[in-house]
Amino acid sequence: MKTKSNLERVLEAGQFAVTGELGPPQSADSEVIRRKAKILKGSVDAFNVTDGQTAVVRMASWAACLIGKEEGLEPIVQMTCRDRNRIALQMDVLGIAALGINNMLCLTGDHQKFGNHPMAKGVYDLDSIQFVKMVKDMRDERKFQCGEEIAVEPRLFIGAAANPFADPFEFRAARLAKKVAAGADFIQTQIIYNVDKFAEWMKMVRDRGLHERVKILAGVAPIKSVGAAKYMKTRVPGMDVPDSIIDRLQGVPKEEVSGEGIKLCVDIINQVREIEGVAGVHIMAIEWEEAVPEIVEAAGLLPRPKFVP
């Protein structure tokens, strides 16, 4: 084991992993996090906390991670290059490891234009791939990016994201290969609604042998309403929502749409599980955490494996 991460143990044991997601509040309210953490507890092996998702100011990911950890969950801290240069990133990496957080998802970050401070200066000193490499070198070479030595290294299980649905599609597996070469231990993908396209991408990933070098968690999310599905289809960059998904939700009475959205999510989990090289799922039920236990149970993924640390 590279780290003390529960997620690493689950994946290394060959168990199909389940991770969840928790959006921190736009306030200093810790109770919101405790409430959401209690909902997720027992249903997921670890939970992500987003880092200023869509560039909106929210509670720091590491702080919300720590509160969730107090509730007995294993956190995955998300960190973006949008707001931090290499100095700030490395300081946070040290602090996060010192707090006993064992997993980190390294991201470039949503562009500041989409958030509530579009006038902010974007940093982007590093990109996500350079960030992964830097954390890997801090952990395994005990070196800062400048080459200086670290006395006590941060032992983090390193994650990265992948979007199989963005363009240029032919280059997407190559980009994953770079993340793997940089040192990613696990990957969480963009939300999958187009399973065929995801399968096509996974084939390109397998052709490069990447599924044997990195644990790939397929991103899924329940849809609450027809409006939400249409919004994701037309307004969210990098999302691929086929018409068949919208048709399915439109095909049930209005009061049953959210239930159908949960069933749809379970169906997608069952489909991606069958694809060779998929090591788990990452369920992104942002502001709908209540759906997660239901989805995990319906997908037959309970109970979650337990490891004595």
């Binding site: 949008r82 562009h111 990109d127 363009d167 240029p168 770079k178 990098g238």
Partner: protein, 216 residues
């Protein structure tokens, strides 16, 4: 006016590794003025490369290399020499290198770092293609600059927001990474993008302070 200086010879030679035949391009505008890629420097580079065992298939110094129409016209006379080259070394600022990249279906190597526009922004729109970052990365990005043309300055490929050739930030912004992938695919050199590009040196850019130290 874009102010540039030549990269270290070792760095330039590392770019040319594996390429035997080189075509050389300089510029009589800014690069001549700053002694980084005018008539004299192009002649010197031609000698140096030959001493290092390269064959220079030809060379040209264009009046304003960043002027696409003019450069296109000029390069027409060198079709044979360019065709005979494995790649092209361009001795001028980032704007000029990108003009050549967009006109010629050969790999281009940047021979200079662009330090500053010398306070003369907006004199001509071509300068927008170069952010005068002082540490030219065009070697690793197919001759098109993501520092100036990608909303997140990404150096290792497109983010998850590239869709239908456009940047997620604005439908009027072309995704330069789509353009880079398209160009290298066309040249059969997409493997160039497989290498990890390491964190960039920003200490030589204007974001680190005024440029006086380099202009004294």
């Amino acid at each position: 006016m874009l102010i540039s200086e030549q990269k270290q010879l070792e760095e330039i030679l590392s770019y040319l590794e594996g390429d035997k035949n080189i075509f050389l391009i300089g510029c009589k505008g800014c690069a001549e003025g700053w002694g980084s890629g005018g008539e004299k420097q192009v002649a010197e580079m031609e000698n140096t490369l030959q001493e290092k065992g390269k064959t220079v298939t030809g060379s040209v110094v264009v009046d304003m290399l960043c002027d696409s129409a003019l450069t296109k016209l000029k390069l027409r006379a060198y079709k044979k020499e360019i065709a005979a080259a494995d790649s092209i070394l361009v001795l001028t600022d980032g704007a000029g290198v990108q003009t050549v990249a967009e006109l010629v279906d050969k790999l281009v190597h940047p021979g200079c770092n662009t330090l500053s526009s010398g306070g003369a922004h907006a004199e001509w729109k071509e300068a927008e293609r170069c952010l005068e970052c002082g540490d030219c990365m065009l070697e690793f990005t197919g001759g098109l600059c993501p520092i100036a043309r990608c909303s997140k300055h990404l150096l290792n490929g497109p983010c998850g927001g590239s869709q239908d050739g456009k940047c997620e930030v604005d439908p009027d912004i072309p995704c330069v990474w789509q353009q880079i992938v398209d160009r290298l695919t066309k040249l059969g050199k997409l493997d160039k993008l497989e290498r990890l590009v390491t964190p960039k040196n920003w200490s030589v850019s204007l974001t680190s302070g005024p440029p006086v130290r380099r202009l004294s």
